[in-house]
Symmetry: C2
Subunit: 321 residues, 2 copies
């Protein structure tokens, strides 16, 4: 059995190869580029961790893990085009470096490559793995569309935001875990516990993401603290603040959303603090974390095998960036 | 057994349904939109025709046919974004109607939907069908990238253009035929003959496309005759003309490529005629058509069953639009 850290290292080393042919370079070099600029590889490692929960890791789990990481990077390339984002992981985004058309195509071919990896999975599991992957892939697209739709709306309820976040980010973590379980020969019950564990962990992860963007330690966060506030991004914090702020704070907050004063981040953070959305977010994250842990607890596997998945969850919950 | 016309009608009727969920409408309505604005459905009908060559049509062939048509429309949506094309089949393109970001996502989710249809295919054929589909999908992306690369190049050889066209358009026709054969239980030899038939037919189709754009009957063509010439598009005709024109015609042609005089189409057509690229193209098309027919001839199936595929080939070769 491997620790979370050991598995992360093993995957990183296996994945650090060229995944595409040399010809056509103008298409495949951009696709390879984004794979080379880092990333935490959380999702593929989830496949491996969930797989090893049930038995030794099967070679199929590596194929599924690679497919998941390729899918994730496909969605990043296309999201960055839609968001007109110039930088990702401190490097130029694919469309900035190679142009939008090529980035679009490089994303497309990366999605196809993900299916090539899935098609290496043993025939006994292929249909089920594909079904899960297809459903999840469509959901991620739905989540991204909802996210764009919300940008044009004045108000978004917490419930709507949760649905969007679940689709856009959590279902892929959930599916990664479930895929590992399927390939590990786990029963339906265990597969579903792993799915729910991943889904709740994914939401906790996103709450943490929103929290760090506002309250993170600037020296450790790695990005500009307050970026979401400056972009008027609807986050867990903003949605909760708009719902719980005093009438006066709410009015100021709405004015701040429609302007860009020099002290905008500071002012919004003051209101966030007055509404105690920082404490609220910490509690919310804890709730989802506990739900995730309960699903792991309820998975009928001896406790000792669950340790690496607990390490992953702890890592995600205590990260500073 | 069905005629080509009968199978086209059957597919059109089966395919005329909503392929996507209601929620999220803002994502799925745009995807559904392009499926509703027509198209010849050549590729899915190729799946069915090739399938029925060997036995009664299997239900799996309809799933594969739907997957192929969805893939084709996915590639059209994304190509139209890259080409900034405002109109397709006389209607607004998806990105013109719904915005680029939504069109990008609608294309993505349509590709995923294609894989959902493929995953309905019987387990005995799933791996092989997926492998063919994945290879083909990647090749179509490569073809589109080469096409974009060629736009920025002064000269493109006939050989390079042929490679690009084969990837961008022919391999999908070829794969459609081969997929039908696989699902019909055909042997490897027959599968490959059908693939080569489709590939050669696809190239003949593209030669015809280039020819009609320059020399088509304006009343029957449906698009503006000379569109490729006005866009300085590298076509079979232009590449051949640049290689075979007299020194003087070549000079004039290159000047015309760098300017947009009112009589540009007329002038270029004069040069085309003087180089006899119209006759050359007709012969080239005939060569590829004959190659395609030879592969059909060499497929070890009784002659009577081949009639519908011959009808398809005749239809493609004699079309006026």
């Amino acid at each position: 059995m491997h620790s979370f850290a050991a598995l992360s290292k093993i995957f990183e080393e296996k994945f650090a190869t060229r995944h595409f042919p040399e010809h056509t370079k103008t298409l495949y070099d951009p696709a390879q580029y984004i794979l080379g600029i880092g990333g935490k590889r959380i999702r593929p490692v989830c496949v491996l961790l969930a797989n090893e929960l049930f038995d030794d890791i099967t070679p199929d789990a590596y194929y599924a893990a690679a497919a998941i990481e390729l899918f994730h990077n496909f969605s990043l390339i296309h999201d960055d085009i839609m968001d007109k984002a110039p930088v990702r992981r401190g490097m130029a985004t694919v469309h900035t470096k190679y142009g939008e058309s090529t980035a679009l195509l490089a994303g497309d071919v990366m999605l196809v490559k993900a299916y090539e990896y899935l098609n290496k999975v043993d025939a006994a599991h292929l249909h089920k793995v594909l079904q899960l992957f297809n459903t999840t892939a469509a959901e991620v697209c739905e989540g991204q569309q909802l996210d764009m739709d919300f940008e044009h709306r004045e108000t978004v309820s917490l419930e709507e935001y949760l649905e969007m976040i679940a689709l856009k980010t959590s279902v892929l973590v959930a599916a990664s875990m479930k895929m590992g379980a399927i390939l590990g020969g786990a029963g339906e019950g265990s597969q579903n516990h792993l799915y729910e564990m991943g889904k709740n962990l994914g939401i906790a992860f996103q709450v943490q993401d929103d929290y760090l963007d506002a309250f993170g330690d600037p020296e450790k966060f790695g990005k500009q603290v307050g970026g979401d506030i400056l972009a008027n991004k609807k986050t867990f914090l903003l949605i909760q603040a708009l719902q719980t702020a005093s009438a006066e704070d709410k009015k100021v907050l709405q004015q701040l959303l429609q302007s860009n004063p020099a002290n905008k981040v500071q002012e919004v953070l003051h209101i966030f603090k007055r509404c105690k959305v920082d404490e609220w977010a910490t509690q919310l994250q804890e709730q989802y974390y506990q739900k995730a842990m309960q699903h792991l607890e309820d998975t009928p596997v001896v406790s000792a095998r669950k340790q690496p998945l607990k390490e992953l969850a702890d890592y995600l919950m205590t990260r500073q960036s």
